[in-house]
């Protein structure tokens, strides 16, 4: 018998024969977009922009062999329309698909080639832009333009493990989905066309942690070029995961890096569980044809007086309740394949996708949801099903939809006897994944005939060589020598996404605020705030610059820094100066402090003259009694020392 619940800690990914390949998509920081002259900065919706709007439909296209993208077809049949918002500041006719694309942005190509060289990949000799059909409306054209610029290569992880690189491509980012409203999906076009680099690794990754390390190491390499964007949504990971006996599953849209190990582990577990379900079905003697041969039965009469709100609602709007028996599937639909996600949920995903229904009920979870035991018993008898042996799935909806949904359920259930189906899945916030669509075939790539191929010339390559990022070890050495960071701190800061900001601030304020302290804002203060649950994503670069500036000017004592940052995280529209005021951190200007210290020294001038610098503690004590929490102690100490030295100097 198969356990219903699973304990993720019991699974050893290595033992499962885990293999993971990563696809990392990173926005490049170029002056303009990949195929037009628009800037690559996104708009801030709250600021009020001139925005043009238009509405489009996207029709599924057929390949020569008549194949049509099934997910796209379903959306089109439902009358799905796309409502586009085109800010004039950051879009033009190209994004609106009202003008052919311009030539590929050379700057993006050069950055891409630089990354390729850093990854020891071999650039192709001529770059061809392709159209990858994507009909969810996120591209106004219905395809994403993408081009392979290099093949092969490798990256070494800090552990010494080497992960192979398969391809490096340059492609256009998609539009931002802003909302769904009935049959309209709304997209903001500012992001459409921003250049991305896509790095695909070989399936050399063997543990969830290695997947994380690989993403981190590649991310670091990209940032060291100083030509990539950062911030939410500027880097995204897709995954290909398989285990021994399983199948390569695509997982899309992993935005949070820290979730990556969990998603990998959960997918390995899902495949393992599907294999266990298969073995259990075989053990029970269930055959594929037994499943596929099941008849879909109208059981509306069973639910005539039901208390289930969902079923009553479906029946009121002219729907029916259809049911199908899954022979030998008892207790399997209720079995988890991922924490909180049962095999029945997998079937429900198929019912939704193929039938367009809201969901399904199955007997492993019944009676429940207003469905009574009596109704369940009737179901068993109408379908000739055996309790504890068979499972029954029911769907309440328009008859045609319900029938399609149950047909899909039967086919998915029959596939359980084969093992793991080939799917594209979407990552969820809790680390689990849901079925998104069947994996598209390779026939969805066509040449972009509007853009001429580009020869990768020696001239392009020599420009790329100038941008090849330094190796992490070299960079660490530079940071230690130039800014006096400890090796440990340097190692931490080069893994930080805001490395470039650190360097900028260290350069500008290094003589007033120690670079080690600036680095620790990123590596220590922000991280511990994040651990405490402060939403540090809200803190902009300019906030941090304001903060360091305030410290440099003596307006902000260091012990108040965490409070200021927490305040900013909660009120991202405010500035550091607002935080200082709101938090009651009194602004004491330097002159006032100097004057106060002069007065303190004057009041005990004999003692100071006698003891010299040994009197410093006493002067400090008196000064800090008045200034604590308002001025950094070190600033006060500096002034005290200087003033005492002046006094002693007078004496000499």
């Amino acid at each position: 018998m198969i356990e219903q619940k699973i304990d993720p800690s019991k699974y050893d990914p290595r033992e499962l024969g885990l293999k993971v390949g990563l696809e990392i998509h990173q926005q490049l920081d170029t002056r303009h977009k990949l195929f037009c002259g628009c800037p690559t900065e996104l708009i801030h919706e709250e600021q009020g922009h001139e925005i043009d709007e238009f509405i489009r439909q996207l029709r599924p296209t057929r390949s020569e062999l008549g194949e049509v993208d099934i997910a796209a077809l379903f959306e089109w049949r439902k009358g799905r329309l796309y409502h586009y918002h085109a800010p004039r500041e950051s879009t033009c006719l190209v994004e609106a698909d009202e003008e052919p694309p311009h030539e590929l942005n050379r700057e993006a190509l050069i950055i891409g080639l630089a990354v390729a060289l850093a990854l020891k990949a071999s650039p192709v000799d001529e770059v061809y832009v392709m159209r990858k059909i994507v009909i969810d409306g996120s591209n106004t054209t219905g395809f994403q333009r993408t081009a392979i610029i290099a093949l092969g290569g490798e990256i070494e992880l800090p552990s010494g493990k080497v992960v192979g690189i398969q391809t490096i491509a340059i492609e256009e980012d998609a539009a931002r989905k802003i909302r769904e409203q009935g049959k309209y999906t709304h997209y903001m076009l500012d992001r459409l066309g921003v250049p991305l680099i896509e790095i695909s690794t070989a399936p050399d990754i063997e543990t969830p942690e290695e997947a994380y390390e690989t993403a981190l190491t590649i991310g670091q390499l990209l940032r060291l070029t100083k030509r990539v964007k950062r911030g939410i949504g500027t880097i995204r990971q897709d995954l290909n995961v398989s285990i021994r006996g399983g199948v390569k599953t695509e997982i899309k849209g992993v935005q949070r890096l820290d979730l990556l190990p969990k998603i990998v582990l959960y997918e390995a577990i899902r495949q393992k569980r599907l294999l266990e379900i298969r073995d259990e079905l075989v053990r029970r003697g269930v055959r594929e044809e037994d499943v596929l041969g099941q008849e879909i039965v109208d059981v509306t009469t069973v639910f005539e007086k039901t208390r289930s709100k969902i079923i009553r609602k479906a029946l009121r709007s002219g729907g029916k309740v259809l049911a199908v028996k899954l022979p030998g599937f008892a207790k399997l639909l209720g079995a988890e394949v991922q924490p909180g996600r049962r095999f029945g949920t997998e079937l429900a995903d198929y019912a939704r996708f193929w039938g367009g229904v809201g969901g399904l009920f199955h007997t492993d979870e019944l009676p429940n949801y207003g469905i009574s035991e009596e109704e369940v018993n009737k179901l068993y008898s109408v379908l000739g099903a055996r309790k504890e042996v068979d499972a029954i799935v029911i769907v309440a909806d328009r008859e045609t939809n319900a029938r399609k949904a149950l047909r899909a359920v039967l086919e998915r259930a029959a596939y359980a006897l084969k093992g793991v189906p080939k799917e594209t899945r979407a990552a969820k916030e809790d680390g689990t994944t849901r079925f998104m669509r069947p994996q598209p075939g390779s026939a969805r790539m066509y040449p972009e005939t509007d853009i001429p191929p580009i020869e990768v010339t020696e001239e392009l390559l020599s420009e790329a060589r100038k941008l090849v990022p330094p190796k992490p070890q070299e960079k660490i050495k530079v940071l230690v020598e130039k800014y006096g960071l400890s090796t440990e701190l340097a190692k931490q800061i080069i893994r930080d996404v805001r490395l470039d900001l650190f360097e900028e601030l260290a350069e500008k304020y290094g003589s007033e605020v120690s670079p080690s302290y600036i680095a620790s804002i990123f590596t220590n203060i922000l991280r511990s705030l994040s651990r405490e649950g402060v939403n540090v994503e809200n803190i902009h670069d300019y906030h941090i610059e304001e903060l360091v500036d305030a410290i440099a000017k003596g307006r902000l004592p260091k012990d108040a820094v965490p409070d200021v940052l927490s305040y900013i995280a909660k009120n991202p529209e405010k500035h550091v100066a607002d935080a200082i005021k709101e938090l009651g951190i009194t602004v004491v200007d330097r002159e006032a402090i100097e004057k106060m210290i002069e007065e303190i020294i004057a009041s005990m001038i004999d003692e100071v003259k006698e003891k010299g610098l040994r009197a410093m503690n006493k002067v400090m004590g008196r000064a800090m009694a008045q200034l604590r929490g308002r001025v950094d102690g070190r600033v006060v100490a500096d002034i005290v020392r200087r003033k005492i030295e002046e006094v002693i100097g007078e004496k000499q």
Partner: protein
């Protein structure tokens, strides 16, 4: 070999020939630097003669591989073997729509193809777009039209829009007339957009009596792409052909850049006003006949038609004079250009003049000579918007005195087509000059209301 190694020259070509490879074959390229590439051989569209072979890798991407004498190319699988495999693995073809149109009799609409791709398929191995134009192909690609009309389709020519010529207008006129006389309830002409407005004008003049609507339609985005406007425009055009209450020659294209409604423009007042936008076609000095909502299958009339459906019998006066020129005046234009046309036996010249209808004084003598040689000269304006008035300034009056005919508010292109048509139907110089000023097919609007001029952003 010929077409099978499309675009390849030099070393690349001889390597491929030696390997016996053709476009579509799965090949392996081994280079002396040790790198190896496997993929489907693609045609080379680039004009450059660099020694590069283009292959489609297994992941679907194309890349260019530089080759030299020491490179080894071999064929792993032929195109035929690949296609056979693909065919076996391909799932059953799924129709776009689940429902089929009812069997009841619907209006008969004939779709005539002249070139371009209102429906097309992408070639599996090379990505080339192949036109598809049987009624079956159209119904597969745009099944919605089958719910509006009983569709027949015919390809009458297959040319690029820019290669359209007056003798081909005649061929289109004949094809349309034949289909109408055979009982079609409306005709749709699929046409490249570049010269569609000229053809629309030609049909407007040649179909003197018209009992049913004729709708020209095209696409600004090719039909192989999901965002193509081809289907939207075609459905709209079929709606016009099948249901419109007017019997006029129209151009039916996107009304805005949204997929909301199309506009049916009068064939003599329409002009392509943008190189690439979906809503490139606009009525100039005029208002469109109707808004067409293809999703709702609704036609909203915007103005009175010249004639209603079924009001007239079919009457055709086909023929266009080839010796007619359309020239644009520019500062300093050399009068020899006019002299050349007169000497070469041209019978008509349409000038796109400046402003109200002027050209530089240096042309006056040559225009006088044209008049003496019975060459009809018609004045239109580069401003496109507004009406010719040659009485206001001295140059205009001089031009009138040398016999230049003011073209009212006609589009230069329409005046050109009109003059070609007139001169093919009369030998009388004076009759031709009179007909130019007569409103024959709605090409002249005598009232321009204030709103007829668009507002540009500022």
């Amino acid at each position: 070999m010929g077409l099978s190694l499309e675009g390849y020259t030099g070393i690349a070509r001889s390597l491929l020939e030696k390997a016996g490879a053709k476009v579509g074959d799965y090949i392996r390229i081994r280079r002396s630097d040790g790198r190896e590439f496997k993929g489907v051989l693609m045609p080379r569209y680039s004009i450059s003669s660099r020694p590069i072979i283009v292959v489609k890798l297994d992941n679907g991407y194309n890349v260019g591989v530089r080759v030299d004498e020491s490179t080894v190319v071999e064929v792993i699988k032929t195109k035929e073997a690949l296609l056979e495999e693909a065919r076996q693995g391909a799932p059953a073809v799924i129709p776009l729509l689940e429902e089929a149109p009812s069997g009841e009799r619907k209006p008969r609409v004939v779709i005539l193809g002249t070139g371009g791709t209102i429906a097309s398929r992408i070639e599996y191995e090379t990505g080339a777009v192949k036109p598809a134009f049987s009624a079956r192909d159209i119904l597969d690609a745009v099944p919605e039209v089958g719910f509006i009309a009983d569709i027949e389709a015919d390809v009458i020519m297959n040319i690029l829009s820019e290669n359209m010529r007056p003798d081909l207008w005649e061929k289109i006129v004949d094809a349309v007339a034949k289909r109408i006389s055979e009982g079609a309830d409306g005709v749709v002409i699929a046409h490249g957009t570049d010269t569609m407005a000229y053809t629309a004008a030609a049909l407007s003049f040649a179909l003197r009596g018209l009992p049913v609507p004729v709708a020209l339609v095209g696409a600004q985005r090719s039909s192989d792409r999901p965002s193509s406007d081809a289907a939207f425009n075609l459905i709209s055009a079929v709606l016009v052909a099948a249901k419109a209450p007017f019997a006029e020659v129209t151009v039916v294209m996107h009304g805005t850049i949204s997929d909301t409604y199309a506009l049916a423009h009068r064939g003599t007042k329409v002009r392509k006003m943008h190189t690439s936008r979906r809503d490139a076609f606009q009525s100039i000095n005029s208002r469109p006949l109707a808004k067409i909502y293809p999703f709702e299958k609704r036609i909203e009339l915007l103005r009175q038609a010249l004639r209603r459906r079924g009001e007239q019998e079919l009457e055709v006066s086909n023929g266009f004079e080839k010796k007619v020129a359309l020239i644009k005046y520019y500062p300093g234009m050399d009068p020899e250009i006019i002299d050349f046309l007169v000497d070469r036996g041209y019978r008509g010249i349409v000038i796109e003049g400046t402003g109200l209808g002027h050209v530089g004084e240096q042309l006056i003598d040559s225009l006088q000579r044209a008049y003496e040689n019975e060459v009809v000269v018609v004045m239109t304006s580069q401003t496109l918007f507004g009406r010719i008035n040659m009485n206001v300034y001295i140059t205009g009056r001089k031009l009138l005195s040398v016999g230049v005919v003011p073209g009212e508010d006609m589009l230069p292109e329409t005046a050109f087509v009109k003059l070609s048509w007139i001169l093919a139907h009369t030998d009388s110089f004076e009759e031709a000059r009179r007909l130019v000023r007569e409103n024959l097919a709605g090409e002249i609007e005598y009232r321009h209301t204030i709103d007829l001029y668009p507002r540009w952003p500022h």
